[in-house]
């Protein structure tokens, strides 16, 4: 980095010194093994070109992949020496053109000399790609041609995706020698490097090639390096769109006429230059990898299709709009129906409450009769005493007794009205013990008539939860009446226990335990379905309404067999507040 800075400052100062004649031509070169090596490799070539084209001066700018991309986009350079991958990647978008392709010295003029090698440490147990599955991999850069994309292509042909195949991919960026050291130090388990890197570093004495192995070896005639992939054309010399054609022509001529023995050719590890080769295979590779620069995003393709086939496009847009409108309309209908259904359910609940009261009416009338009878007796008893002039000292307590009895009948009427009154469900903090007692008051006569003993077992004196009291009362009355009715068919002692306790997660569990004949097996699965009943006169709505009410309170309701004979109906209500 520091070196690159020094070099560019040096070059810059030199350029400003020699400002006199024609403009300096800038050449971007890919410095994949570091700036120094890049300068060393190409300096002779540009000295040669400067000599061959009178009045021209060249400045070499070693660059990384992204720096070179930027330079092309901004057109801040005149020529480029790079691998064909980058040429296709950026060049085809920004109007670059090949002038000449390098002839490889190492591989006897073989033109396809760029490939990838999958390198592992010689001492490692890995024998093939498969052994590296879910291991750590090193590579140069996601945009590097030999250092990643070529081997990616090999894997893609086998249907594998490196991003998922390996546990992790670390990118070293330039200079790429680092990758080999990573393999040596087992920072990574394997690395994708450009073919011939191992051989070059071995020749330079940096490593011993025998310490490493290349997996998935491929054979190509005249190609001397270990490699794991198909081969692609060698580096080429390209001009940018703005570079004057005449100048390009001169450069091309000079390059093509460079002798294989020249210093320039030797320094660049080549036998000189030849006519540019085809980039066909590279286009193919990029298409396979789905990263071709000309590839359009799906919406661009769709838009282009729409522009060409606008009638169809308009038709589809209309269909989509109609579909959307239809969707909205269906939503409105669903909402409306849901609301109606909800109202119907409430009406049904209310109707069932009224029906219960109807069935309880004779009992309720009796209950109402008691205080009325008492009032009558007190009143007539008072009258006879008045007639006999015996009442002066008793009158006050007598009237008090009458008043107490009148209030008692008022309470009964209130209870009935509260239960039958039409109302929207409304949750409020409710004392469970009080609610159960109110329910039992309504059922008092039923219990008496059927000779049923009802026991109340509250785990805690005061349990207050947020519920709709009328609805839960309806559930309690339904369930207790069910037990009473079921037991009335059997002889013997009739017992119902209403138990309330708290569960560990603060739910309030209600249990209505009877000693009746138990649950009929054929019905038990359908017990909460409407219109399923074992009663002669029942509609089968009771339990299904209970289920609906409990579920609307986010609770559960379930049946159990009483091990001592009979049935246990359980329901739970969430959220208990102290």
């Amino acid at each position: 980095m520091l070196l690159r800075l020094v070099v560019s400052v040096l070059l810059f100062s030199m350029a400003s010194f020699c400002q006199a004649g024609s403009d300096e031509l800038k050449v971007g070169v890919l410095a994949f093994r570091g700036d120094e090596k890049a300068m060393h490799r190409w300096q002779e070539t540009f000295d040669y070109l400067a000599k061959a084209i009178p009045g021209s001066r060249f400045r070499i700018l070693p660059m990384s992949l992204s720096e070179l991309d930027n330079a092309v986009v901004q057109q801040s350079i005149d020529f480029v020496i790079t691998n064909p991958g980058q040429y296709v990647h950026i060049g085809s978008k920004y109007g670059m053109s090949w002038l000449a392709t390098l002839k490889s010295r190492r591989h006897d003029e073989h033109r396809e000399v760029i490939g990838s090698a999958l390198v592992v440490k010689a001492s490692s147990p890995y024998k093939e790609l498969h052994d590296l599955k879910a291991k750590r991999l090193g590579a140069v850069d996601s945009l590097a041609f030999g250092g990643f994309q070529i081997y990616w292509g090999e894997m893609a042909k086998q249907g594998a995706d490196p991003a998922r195949y390996f546990s992790k991919i670390d990118f070293s960026h330039y200079p790429i020698d680092a990758l080999i050291y990573w393999v040596r130090d087992t920072t990574v388990d394997g690395a994708i490097v450009p073919a011939c890197l191992l051989e070059k570093m071995d020749e330079e004495g940096l490593i011993h090639i025998s310490d490493y192995r290349v997996l998935e070896l491929k054979q190509h005639d005249n190609f001397k390096c270990l490699h794991s992939s198909q081969l692609y054309p060698n580096w080429s010399f390209a001009k940018l769109r703005a570079t004057p054609p005449l100048l390009a022509e001169k450069v091309a001529k000079a390059l093509l006429s460079m002798s294989a023995d020249s210093e320039a050719a030797k320094a660049s590890a080549s036998l000189g230059w030849t006519a540019p080769v085809s980039t066909y295979e590279i286009h193919q590779l990029y298409q396979l990898l789905n990263i071709h620069p000309w590839q359009e995003a799906w919406w661009q393709q769709a838009w282009r299709w729409v522009l060409v086939n606008w009638q169809w496009g308009a038709f589809f847009i209309v269909v989509i709009i109609l579909g959307f409108v239809h969707h909205l309309w269906v939503q409105v209908l669903v909402k409306r129906r849901t609301h109606e259904l909800h109202q119907q359910q409430q009406q049904l609940e209310h109707a069932q409450r009224v029906a219960i009261l109807g069935e309880l009416s004779s009992g309720l009338a009796h209950e109402l009769n008691q205080p009325l009878a008492a009032i009558n007796s007190y009143a007539e008893g008072g009258m006879i005493r008045l007639v006999k002039n015996q009442t002066e000292n008793e009158l006050l307590s007598l009237l008090e007794k009458i008043s107490i009895e009148a209030r008692r009948s008022g309470k009964i009427i209130q209870r009935i009205r509260g239960f039958a009154k039409r109302q929207q469900p409304e949750k409020q903090p409710t004392d469970i013990a009080q609610l159960i007692n109110e329910s039992l008051q309504l059922l008092q006569i039923e219990l008496k008539k059927s000779d049923t003993n009802l026991e109340l077992a509250l785990e805690q004196e005061k349990i207050i939860i947020n519920i709709d009291p009328v609805e839960i009362q309806q559930v309690l009355i339904n369930l207790i009446r069910n037990s009473i009715e079921v037991m009335s068919g059997t002889a013997g002692f009739h017992q119902i226990i209403v138990e309330v306790r708290l569960s560990r997660n603060n739910e309030v569990i209600f249990r209505i335990i009877d000693n009746g004949p138990g649950i009929s097996k054929s019905i038990s699965a359908q017990n909460f379905m409407p219109f399923i009943t074992t009663k002669k006169n029942g509609l089968g709505l009771g339990l299904s309404i209970c289920k609906r009410i409990i579920e609307a309170h986010h609770g559960k309701i379930w049946l159990e067999d009483n091990p001592e004979g009979g049935c246990i109906v359980n329901f739970s209500l969430p959220e208990h507040h102290e």
């Binding site: 009992g363 006879i384 015996q390």
Partner: protein, 203 residues
């Protein structure tokens, strides 16, 4: 004992205010009132043929029901008369009650006048029943021969006829007759006929 007001009135009802208010009402009419909150309590604490009595019964009560109390009284052969006063009566219940010999059957609330009239009747009947019960007890103390004599005397036969019929001496007839009259606490022939009527003419 002939004064009906002396005949005690028993009230059995599980509803406290009903039985207390009824008690209050009846005491206003100078009845001797006893209240019980269940049938067992009443049966345990009352001598049901130790004298006349009027029982006002509720039908549905926890434990033993009003109908069951009535049945038990009948089984014992009680001389009490029974009035049903129920909150939820119906025709079958009323029919059963009357078949079992109830005096009356009321639905709550009942007017004092009706109830008082009914209680008076019931008391009279109970007095009669008790009388009959006492007479039966007296009759049962007679020997077979005395019983034969009792029927003949009640039918109006004179001693001579009796001695002929039974083939015993006139003297023996006179001795038996005196003994029988003494056992039955009858002063004269009129008392004896009254006793006969109370025992046999009713049926």
């Amino acid at each position: 004992m002939n004064k009906t007001l002396e005949v005690p009135v028993y009230i059995v009802d599980d509803d406290q205010s009903v039985r207390e208010s009824l008690g209050y009402l009846l005491e206003g009419y100078d009845f001797k009132v006893y209240v019980f909150d269940n049938g067992d309590e009443f049966l345990k604490n009352t001598s049901v043929n130790g004298g006349p009595g009027c029982l006002i019964l509720d039908s549905k009560m926890p434990g033993i029901s009003g109908e069951e109390v009535h049945e038990k009284l009948n089984k014992i052969g009680s001389t009490f008369s029974v009035i049903f006063l129920t909150g939820h009566g119906d025709i079958p219940m009323a029919v059963t009650a009357f078949r079992n010999g109830a005096n009356d059957f009321f639905q709550k609330p009942v007017s004092a006048a009706e109830l008082i009239t009914s209680i008076h009747k019931a008391q009279k009947k109970s007095i009669f029943l008790y009388q009959k019960y006492c007479n039966e007890s007296l009759f049962d103390t007679l020997s077979e021969r005395e019983k034969q004599l009792f029927f003949m005397v009640a039918e109006g036969r004179i001693n001579k006829q009796i001695s002929d019929k039974l083939c015993i001496s006139l003297r023996t007839v006179e001795v038996h007759r005196a003994k029988m009259m003494e056992k039955l606490k009858a002063e004269n022939i009129t008392d004896l006929v009254k006793l006969y009527d109370s025992l046999f003419s009713e049926q």
